[in-house]
């Protein structure tokens, strides 16, 4: 046997192991997450900057009477608007952080009777936890965690559909609202409210799938 014979034997008979679709998808997801994490989050303007901006937009407010009005607007109206703008970015950042450094869940269970009691004493509200009706639709409950959102401890439920993770952030809300779809840095978000609680679902799964998740949740919660 010479070197050429050996080469022929190896090339004809040695097993090859190409990467399968699952591995390719996993690599792409990791790169997307890593790229998102490397982007710098937008810095929140201080109240001074907001106030300065307000004066630029409304020169009339620079008057003595306007100053008081401006102050009122700055303190009560503008921060709220700004918070609304910053919230989706904060949720995406929180979702990415949980996927990358964890924990994705602090209580690991596909049983809502395990997950719901875990939140007792950790939050000043009791989030709804749904398992079976969502599993039937392909969304498996992985567990729950508490994470800071807008500086408040917030309930998060982690679900999985195929290879994708979905985080559902839940906190008390005053008014009901129909689902609304948003996109930030390649991630999809769907928000809705049932009048008692506000819900934000965040995931890299496609928008239609995430809306299906929201619809399944709303249907199941209404029963």
């Amino acid at each position: 046997m010479n070197d050429d014979d050996l080469t022929r034997l190896l090339q004809q008979h040695a097993s090859r192991h190409p990467a399968d679709e699952r591995l390719r998808a996993a690599v792409r997801t990791q790169i997307t997450l890593q790229a998102a994490a490397q982007e710098k989050p937008a810095e929140k303007p201080t109240w001074r900057e907001r106030f300065a901006r307000l004066l630029r937009i409304h020169p009339a407010l620079a008057g003595a009477g306007g100053l008081a009005l401006g102050l009122v607007l700055t303190m009560f109206v503008v921060p709220r608007l700004n918070n609304d703008v910053a919230l989706p970015e904060e949720l995406v950042a929180a979702h990415v952080r949980a996927l990358q450094v964890g924990p994705l869940y602090e209580v690991a269970s596909s049983d809502r009777h395990q997950v719901k009691p875990w939140f007792q004493g950790r939050l000043d509200y009791a989030p709804t936890v749904l398992d079976e009706p969502l599993r039937e639709q392909g969304f498996a409950l992985l567990g729950g965690r508490v994470q800071a959102v807008q500086n408040r401890p917030t309930a998060v439920l982690a679900y999985q559909v195929r290879l994708h993770k979905i985080d559902l952030y839940i906190w008390p809300a005053e008014r009901g609202a129909a689902p609304e779809k948003l996109q930030r840095r390649g991630f999809n978000l769907v928000r809705w409210s049932d009048g008692a609680m506000q819900y934000w679902a965040v995931s890299d799964v496609d928008g239609a799938e995430l809306e299906r998740f929201a619809a399944a949740w709303r249907t199941a919660a209404a029963h």
């Binding site: 070197d3 034997l9 097993s15 192991h17 591995l23 890593q34 790229a35």
Partner: protein, 176 residues
């Protein structure tokens, strides 16, 4: 094009070669997938270190092989094993020998494949590495030297010793 897009266009086509190398270096399929994923993340972080006209294949396969050898050393509980020290590998291999093919299975229709795979598995990882890169991935000596982080002379001597061992084993098994 963003960095992530450019990276995907460069590295995703190399995943077949990366996974093949990882599967030949690590026995466990799950360990091989982990090593490829870890290597892809590392490569993305250091993507800037790939020069404009540099061939991405040896660059990426070098990162993959380092992830594999780190996993191998960890797996054997010997994080101190020098990655290039063949004697240490031989000693470790002796403690956890490769599975010997069942002669009856080897007589079946997949005889050649079984024997060739077993002969490759019987090589120490540093020798298996250069053979897989040369014969299955078709890399030239210079690229193999870059991937494995060894001089070209070492690539050649290691290849020749690996070939001698493969020939010996395959001839003993009765292959032409």
């Amino acid at each position: 094009m963003t960095d992530a897009r450019r990276f995907e266009a460069t590295v995703l086509p190399l995943l077949d070669a990366a996974h093949n190398l990882a599967r030949w270096l690590l026995r466990e399929p799950a360990a091989a997938e982990d090593a490829v994923q870890e290597a892809a993340l590392r490569a993305f972080r250091y993507f800037a270190s790939l020069r404009a006209n540099e061939d991405a294949k040896p660059w990426f396969l070098g990162i993959v092989r380092n992830a594999c050898f780190t996993a191998l050393a960890r797996e054997r509980g010997r994080a101190d094993v020098t990655l290039l020290d063949e004697d240490a590998w031989d000693e470790l291999e002796a403690r956890s020998p490769s599975p010997v093919p069942d002669p009856l299975t080897a007589l079946g229709t997949r005889r050649e494949q079984t024997l060739v795979n077993a002969a490759l598995r019987a090589l120490s990882p540093p020798m298996r590495e250069v053979i897989v890169l040369r014969e299955l991935e078709g890399l030239d000596y210079r690229d193999i030297a870059q991937v494995a982080g060894i001089p070209i002379g070492t690539v050649m001597s290691r290849l020749s010793r690996a070939r001698a061992q493969l020939k010996r084993q395959l001839q003993l098994a009765g292959l032409p």
